[in-house]
């Protein structure tokens, strides 16, 4: 039997390893940031169709992540989806006429919001609403339109007719 003191230090070492493992799992693996929250401000935008957008989906400008989606709700009057985003305060010079679109990373990847900056000199602040939005591209709808157009006979003329008829 080992002396009690040695056993206690070995158990202490074991606990230390476990705590290190927990820290690695929390910060390196699961990217937990809520313990040290980054300062953010809230911006909303309403979309016709958000596709597969989820809470915690990234918000990007030029592919660089600047924040994440914090809430998704449905407007009870217009039946549009209202997406609330948290954007880091260090990105506080985004022009307020910028547009927001929902894109897909890769062909089958997750959805994210891309903000395209415009030229206004007033900036988005806490509680601002992004006016210009583009909905998610739904693959099934695109295929449906394609099939519809092919069904109307391929050539460009009849395509226009098909569009008029559709309207």
């Amino acid at each position: 039997m080992l002396p009690q003191r040695l056993i206690e230090s070995l158990v202490g070492l074991f606990l230390l390893f476990a705590v290190i493992a927990l820290t690695v799992l929390a910060f390196k693996v699961s990217g937990l940031t809520s313990l040290f929250p980054v300062k953010t401000y809230t911006v909303t935008a309403s979309f016709d169709d958000i596709g597969g957008l989820k809470v915690r989906s990234p918000v990007k400008i030029s592919g660089v992540q600047i924040g994440e989606v914090s809430n998704i709700a449905l407007d009870p009057v217009t039946f549009r989806a209202i997406v609330t985003m948290q954007i880091e305060t260090k990105f506080n010079t985004i022009p307020d006429d910028s547009s927001a679109g929902i894109f897909t990373a890769g062909l089958l990847g997750d959805n994210y919001i891309a903000i395209t900056p415009m030229y206004n000199t007033t900036y988005l602040t806490n509680g601002s609403k992004i006016q210009v939005t583009r909905s998610a591209m739904i693959l099934e709808k695109l295929i449906g339109q394609l099939v519809y157009k092919i069904g109307n006979g391929g050539s460009s003329n009849s395509n226009k007719d098909g569009d008029k008829n559709a309207k």
Partner: protein
Amino acid sequence: MLDKLTLLGRWGINNLRQLGKAGILLYRALFYPPNFRKGFPLVMQQIYSEGVLSLVIIVVSSLFIGMVLALQGYHTLAKFGSAQQLGVLVALSVTRELGPVVTAILFAGRAGSAVTAEIGLMKATEQLSSMEMMAVDPIHRVISPRFWGGVISMPLLTLIFNATAIYGAYLVGVKWLGLDTGIFWSNMQASVSFQSDVLNGIIKSVVFGIAVVWIAVAQGFESVPTSAGISNATTRSVVYSSLAVLGLDFVLTAMMIGSW
């Protein structure tokens, strides 16, 4: 005919009694924990012999499990051109399922069987009854420290298992197969959530720890005090705890995935 029926009834009643005894044992171990000043060194020794000594098998097996998972996952994901999701695949499967389950089964084989054999031998050599003669409660002195030592060790071992397995996957995926380090970690961080993946895995491991140590302690305490009885009890301890872990895993997963 009537004899057979009597036999069946006796078998059922005996099993029910065993379950009841094990339940009383669990109750006494849970609600009369060892006295802090006297029991602390005993629990410490048990954490050492159940936790620290299991560390080698846990670290080695988790490293290899992580490496194999990365290798298999890479070749399957590469077919769909999404090899950069390798970190996500490994991290999710390890933190959610493999970590708690494999740790619990290894723990049952490495520590649970030792606990059963030790308590069984104590019973066979009448150490437990001589403790009672000296007015020392064997449940307080022998069972409870082993129970708490196991319950404390299991989640810690699971945490170490998870971290090492992901490190193994990092070694294979990034160092050997040449994935990008940044993509490996950032995809993982984007998809793994602390609450629903890491924390739920730890909750599972606590439940498995209680189940495995309870079965080990109860089998040892109720074993027939002969050589054959101890060997039977040890076998049953490992078999029952492995089955209990896999069964409980299904129930817990169903509870966690359903809106709980």
